[in-house]
Symmetry: C2
Subunit: 277 residues, 2 copies
Amino acid sequence: MSKKQLIMEKALELFADQGFEATSVQQITDHCGISKGAFYLSFKSKDELILALIDYFTTQFTSNIDYLVKSTTIDSELLYKFYYTVFESFNKHSDFAKVLIKEQMRSFNKEFIVKMRSYDKMMEDTILSMVERLYDEEVGQTKHDLVFCIKGFMKMYSELFIFYNTPLDLELLAHSLTEKTNLLAKYVTIPFVSNELVQQFKQQSCNEVTNEQILGVIEQTLDDIEDSIEKESLLLLKQELLEPTLSRPLVKGLLENIQPHPHCKWAAYLLRGYFGF
Amino acid sequence: MSKKQLIMEKALELFADQGFEATSVQQITDHCGISKGAFYLSFKSKDELILALIDYFTTQFTSNIDYLVKSTTIDSELLYKFYYTVFESFNKHSDFAKVLIKEQMRSFNKEFIVKMRSYDKMMEDTILSMVERLYDEEVGQTKHDLVFCIKGFMKMYSELFIFYNTPLDLELLAHSLTEKTNLLAKYVTIPFVSNELVQQFKQQSCNEVTNEQILGVIEQTLDDIEDSIEKESLLLLKQELLEPTLSRPLVKGLLENIQPHPHCKWAAYLLRGYFGF
DNA sequence: TTGACAAATGACCCGTTAGTCATTAGTATA
DNA sequence: TATACTAATGACTAACGGGTCATTTGTCAA
């Protein structure tokens, strides 16, 4: 195991227990059996560590779910599988789930907040695509409410995994939530989260990322990934960011190229926002 | 306005914006236009301040809801009024709601965590009583699931008030959630949160409070309240804690006496747990 | 064995902050 | 005015934690 992995693993335990700010670098290094200096050979700062943790787990989590939704061909199984996988992940990585909940609204770092929001948005997009696929005609105006309810179920029931160590019947849970979701999809008539409201939220949250910030993220990502179609696509997108020359379909295609790559999700998200997709 | 109130008000603004740990006492006193020393004349520590804030708002909030549920005589209006009042409170005290969400899982202070849990429990009890009253026959085994769903709705939709400043249509929201809740009550058949599971949770969370801790809270509460039936009842309960002499019905009656008093809610909760009610 | 390079160490620096306390300002009473 | 008392001040302390860097330890090829 690399030093970096060791630190991430041990730090996660401490963060889950005490929270990020209450855990000192000294504690982490003691817990790893290394020196303080060694820590700074692996991470530039304490902030970089938690960002790495968030990145590592959330990309894994969101990609998992996204893949599941896209690869499940039988509609009738989709919702059940979705819930099952969600809670299985929470169960498996309960330390990370704890950190996520504890620090979700922390305002210590601008980059952190924007990142959390974006992962939330990605999850929401995945859920929305699922809802549209399963209930397209039935739900009509209430589809965003259904997304909200699903997120509410996830929030509420995931607390069980985090605060109690009792082993829980995942299959029953997934069945139970599937039934509830189907019922809401079938019978709900009063929409609250309308399309206009969603539009409004989007505008409010997207107007603060600057060109330079996106460039910074792209540079970072380019360093992280190997030569590949994705890397070339990202390079072209960087060009496009500096001086637009390509047509919109071409840009969209490039975005599609980088989207599946785990390391590119963050850059892809920012670029989608920037180019308006 | 007393110095204490001034500090609480101004501190709340800063906490909502920056979080508790990120806000220094110096900042608070600057924002109040007083000196650092003056702060420590009103509060023994920074921790005491946030505990006071939590106490002040959550007792207000939970008593409000509790009163509403008990005083609404027309069943058909109850659920709507419940949701309306909940979100109206969130809307009105959005600064506090922000703090609550930001610090909800903070582990900086043991007392803080236990307190938060207890308020959550009180809320849950109120919701459960409402569910039992409205749907007693229909829901059967699924009543705890319904409580979970209601809490999930509250969690999810309250984020709207906290992160977006858009004015929202409270009436529509309450109607929309009422419909959803009624649907779930009527049609859901698969229970997940069973009675045994609830029992298990209760055991897990109640086995850590010591006799001395409860005594400490009682002493504190006695100092805070005026001479009254409540005070006398609490004194008797303190006696009973030291050496049991009274019958269970008498103890239960004393608990009922102190329950409605805002300052006694915390002591009442601990004593209920201790005496097994 | 030596020398060169990388890996790791931990004492130290520096900024920050909760909390204290000697001192001062303000006020009411004799 | 003098005295006594309370309210308020802010410089100060002690502790802590993030981050640095001169120094040591380990490794491997010549």
